[in-house]
């Protein structure tokens, strides 16, 4: 097996692993939503049976249950919508898009992982203004790899931040954490990140500052010859 086949196979496996992690995460979250809806439905049934036996249902109670139904249905709908957008990101490796859509999509899909760490994730899109022609799946993968790197390296409950800003060459996505970090702790994940960024002809940089760790991905305005490099 030559190096070029190795690279292609490695990228395929990394892409598959990323896709699987997102799907597993979303299916867990969606199951939680279904569980709450199932219990609310069961409660309505219980109250109906009690009403048949002479204990009337209070209108306020019904209103409260309905509001909870609406909340969790909206939560499920949002998840499905974002999962659908994510799934379609593999359809075309070259589309023109607003990078904010990618970050918003990933923020929703990663939220459960953030919650499980009792961490926070804030996004700032105020510096963004340009459209990009890029590989939407690879950019999502790169964003997730940054997040995983920072997540794995944080021993405490971190505050994550994603900042989006336009620059002459494209869009800069900065993923940061206020926790200490040692890149050497997960070399394979760092390789996965740099390899993924190469797929859309971008650049990646790591900065350790007093205020935290910053991973900066630059996504070029148009997809350059990063793809031809992938094909070896």
């Amino acid at each position: 097996m030559n190096d070029s086949i190795d690279t292609t196979e490695r990228r395929r496996l990394n892409d598959l692993s990323f896709f699987g992690k997102i799907m597993a995460n979303v299916s867990h979250e969606f199951n939680n939503v279904l569980t709450v809806i199932s219990e609310l439905s069961g409660l309505l049934q219980d109250l109906s049976e009690l009403a048949e036996r002479g204990r009337p249902i209070q209108p306020e109670k019904l209103k409260q249950i309905t509001q909870k139904f609406s909340h969790h249905l909206a939560r499920g709908k949002e998840l499905i919508s974002h999962m659908n957008r994510f799934s379609h990101s593999v359809d075309d490796p070259r589309i023109t898009l607003d990078p904010k859509d990618i970050v918003e999509n990933m923020q929703v899909l990663m939220q459960r992982l953030v919650d499980r760490r009792q961490a926070t994730l804030d996004c700032d899109y105020s510096g963004n203004g340009s459209m990009l022609t890029t590989d939407p799946f690879a950019v999502r993968h790169a964003l997730f790899a940054c997040f995983e790197l920072l997540m794995q390296a944080s021993s405490t409950t971190p505050a994550f931040q994603i900042n989006l800003s336009s620059e002459e060459r494209g869009t800069r996505i900065v993923v940061s954490s206020d926790s200490a970090f040692d890149a050497a702790e997960d070399e394979s994940k760092w390789l996965e990140l740099t390899d993924t960024v190469r797929q859309f002809g971008g650049q990646v940089a790591l900065d350790r500052l007093e205020s935290g760790v910053f991973i900066t991905i630059t996504v070029p305005i148009t997809l350059n010859d990063g793809i031809s490099e992938t094909k070896g």
Binding site: S27, H28, N31, N32, L34, T35, V36, S38, E39, L40, G42, L43, D46, L50, K68, H71, H72, D115, R116, R117, Q118, T157
Partner: protein, 126 residues
Amino acid sequence: MEEDLKVLIVDDEDDLVSTLVERLEIRGVDATGVCSGTQAIQLVENNGFDVVVLDVKLKGEDGVEIMKQIKEIQPELPVILLTGHLSPEASEEGFKAGAIDYLLKPINLNDLMTKMREAIAVFKKK
């Protein structure tokens, strides 16, 4: 139907906990619900629960680790683990750590009632 059961429900979904507690109370169960493992550990020592129903994946906490801490305080208190997806490896880990049973989400309330009664019966026999 009056059930002589005192149950602690632990899950990080507020609305799931409150709804489940209400449904159990309708069935005469004395149910208490909390949304974190830390709260659960604080409650088990002095509240005389018959059984704990504990989510495996809590926000910022590992349910299996929480169960181990509960078992240190009350070794005879049966714990049923709640999970969305059960792999053979995960179930083995839970049983080794002291879980008496698993229950899959979405929850079937009749199954939960049966498993709680069975869990208590097993521990009473010991």
